[in-house]
Every structure is written in structure tokens, then in C-alpha cells.
Amino acid sequence: MKPAPFEYIAPTTVEEALGHLTEYGYDAKVLAGGQSLIPMMNFRLAQPAVLVDLNKLAELSFIRSEKDGELRIGAMTRHFQVERDDLVAEHAPLIHEAMPKIATPQIRSRGTFGGSIAHADPAAELTTICVALDGRFRCQSVRGERWVPAKDFFLGMFTSVLEPDEMLVEIAIPPMAPRTGWALEEEARRVHDFALVGVGAVVTLDEQGCCERARLVFLSVGDGPVEAVKAAEMLIGKEGTPEIIRAAAEAVTEELDPSADIHASVKYRLHLARVLARRALEKAFARAAIPGTQAA
């Protein structure tokens, strides 16, 4: 297996990279960590004429927090860096907890945070988590820049709002409100494999211990991250009792329309969605209720 020939460009500044994307448009493809793109090129499913390699853009590799506690991650920050970062563990424990579930150590050493998001794989953990955490993405081109909310970024399988001359440069994750709990639950054939179904849950309680805000976002059940809005609404104003959680978890299947493949039937995926939603909500409610665990 050999990739088709391509012209290779490795710019050293974002400005230079954007210039190349403007010049080559649809003929160019951005190479970030390459852990999804290169397999596709090896199979010749992707045959870009020009490859713009971002690996020399040191300016896109950073993790920092803003004054208001918002976490900022540069698009070219590698998975292993995010996985080991204390700031991420403190500000976005859901991301910290998810990192070891993303592929294998040999992939996380090379794969990038922004690359995984821009690839828009419906089975990806980070896309789902960014939606659940109300993340925002900074997209840049020579025409200017725009911030896109994570929930509006994904258009379908491997498709995002990014224009051919545009690239994802930075990810912002807002600070977590007090009394917020989180969880990511997934079922995969092997720990590092693509999940058959996964769900990210984020729950915020009010001072009385009732649910003020709830998000349930699924992966591997549709063309992108799929949010169960109505099931989450059932939790608002309620305490996280086993009955309430079970009712919401049972309801998620009304909003999901997964497809079958060789690994799982529709019926099995819906079963997993119910079970995983219940587990994720139980964990999220428990974490939200214990003071101090938001930043554990």
C-alpha cells in the first residue's frame, strides 16, 4: 500500500499555512497528526494533490487558562500532552478522563487535539466531549477568523463547517460551574478501539441539589455527536434519584437513530445507549453532589 503522489509543503507559520490553503483550495489537505489521514491515504481513499503539514507550527501547540478560567488548547497540541497536563485535569476533568480511551499510546504520541476534532469522525470522543462541555473552536483563514460553537461545527460524517481555505487553530472550553459532575461511558470491543456506543454526560446542580442543567451527547450513533435534548430536559429541576436517572436513560432511544454494522445491530446499539446513559448520569450526579470533586 502506497499513498498516491502529492506535493509536500511544511510551513513554519500559521500565516504561511493559510496562504497555501487559499492558493490550493480543494486540492490541498491539512496534515496534523496524520493518524486518520495517513491510513486513508495508504488505502488511497484520500488522494490530496497537496499536503500542508502543520507539524512545524509550534505556535499552535499550547495549553493555557484564561483569567475567567476558560481552558485554551492549541490545535496542534498532541494527545499525550493533553493527557499528562495538570491544567486540563483541573479545568476539564472530563477531557482528562477521556484521553486514555482515545486510540493507543502510539497514536496519542502523534495525534493532535485539533486534528481529531477537524476530522469530524462520529466515533471520536473529543468531538462529543467538546459539544457536552459547550466548547468553541477558533477557525482561521486569510479572510479573518471566527469562533464556532462545538454544537454547530459538525455537519456530518467527516464533515465540518471548515471551508477549504480555513483551518482550526484553537479550542476553548469554558470553566465548569460549581456543583457540576461529568462522565464519559463507552463500550468498545477493545479498550482503545472505536466505541460501539459512547456517551458524555455533564450535570450541574443548584444549591438545593436539583438538576439545573444537563447534557447528554452520544458518539457512534449517527453522523456526528448526537445530543439527547429531551432526555436531558427530563432531569431539569429534579434530584438525581435512581428512578429519575433510569427514566431519562430509557428515553434516550427516542432521540437516537443509529445504524447497524458488522459489530453491532441497531437494537444492540440502542440497548448500549440506555445502559451507558444510565451509568454516565449516575456518575455525573454523584460527582456533582460532592463538594470539591468538580476540580478533582
Binding site: 502506497k2 499513498p3 502529492f6 496524520g34 491510513p39 502510539q106 504520541s109 502523534r110
Partner: protein, 162 residues
């Protein structure tokens, strides 16, 4: 016609200068340009782990990188471990616990496990399992490889590092 590119790479401490096509995978560069055939090519899409090398010290799939990207970087392959006469403790451990049968996957396992042991030889049962998670073996059933990692940790912690 795509023009060839000049790269300079340090492999196992030796500096190589080569002129290559951009589409040449790093795994093929190592095998065919440098004639280091210890790095094996299995699935060529990042699943099997046979082609794992250390890229700037990190275990990396060499089939999921282009050789041009290695320009100016440092690579270690399985040839950097022991020799036939003087095996690395990790290789010794594989031999002593019968952690390989056909051996096709072995160099990938070695290069995945090596940096873990170089970081710490105090491994939990979970660590032992996770040390193997990125590599496939179709012969052993993994139990003997797990035992090899444990034995290697013992050898390397007691100063057996060659």
C-alpha cells in the same frame, strides 16, 4: 512530477542524509532506504503496531508518518537494542518467557514496551496490560508477553540494563 526532497535523520545515533519522494512512508524508508529490516510492516493503517519505533523518544507508528516529516528528528529502532551475542534485558526476558512464536510482532512490542520500562520499572498489573495495548500478537495469547514485561522490569530495576 513531484520533486524529491532531501532529509537528514538520526537513526540509532547515526546521521543519514537521503533524497526521497514525499509519499514514502517512514516505515518503508527505514526498511528500504536504510536497510534496517527489524521494523516490520503489518497492516499499514495503524492497527497492528508491528512498525512501532521511537520518534524523538515517543513510541510511534512508522506507517502513519511520511519520511519527510522525520527531517531533523531522532529515531530509534529495534536494532538499537541488543545484539545476538549481547541481548537487551527486555529481549532476554522475551526469550526466557517464550514471549514470541513467529516473531513478526516482536520488534513492535519491544519498541512500545521499552520507553515504559525506561520511565519506570515499578509496574502494576494494569500497567503490564496497558504496556501491550497498542500491539497485536496472533501467536502467544499475550500471557507470555505480559510475563516478559514483568521479568524485564525486574531485570532492569536490579541494574541489569546493558
Amino acid at each position: 512530477m513531484i520533486k524529491a526532497m532531501d532529509i537528514t535523520v538520526t537513526v540509532n545515533g547515526e546521521v543519514f542524509q537521503k533524497t526521497i519522494e514525499p509519499r514514502l512512508l517512514l516505515s518503508d524508508f527505514i526498511r528500504h532506504e536504510l536497510n534496517l529490516s527489524g521494523t516490520h510492516v503489518g497492516c499499514e493503517h495503524g492497527v497492528c503496531g508491528a512498525c512501532t519505533i521511537l520518534f524523538d523518544g515517543m513510541p510511534t507508528r512508522s506507517c502513519l508518518m511520511f519520511a519527510v516529516q522525520a527531517d531533523g528528528h531522532e529515531i530509534r529502532t529495534v536494532e538499537d537494542l541488543g545484539t545476538m551475542e549481547d541481548l537487551h534485558p527486555l529481549q532476554e526476558a522475551f526469550q526466557e518467557t517464550h514471549a514470541l512464536q513467529c516473531g513478526f510482532c516482536t520488534s513492535g512490542f519491544l519498541m512500545s514496551i521499552l520507553p515504559i520500562l525506561e520511565e519506570s520499572t515499578d509496574l502494576s498489573e494494569e500497567d503490564l496490560k496497558r504496556a501491550m495495548e497498542g500491539n497485536l500478537c496472533r501467536c502467544t495469547g499475550y500471557q507470555n508477553i505480559r510475563d516478559a514485561v514483568q521479568l524485564a522490569a525486574e531485570k532492569m530495576s536490579s541494574g541489569g540494563e546493558s
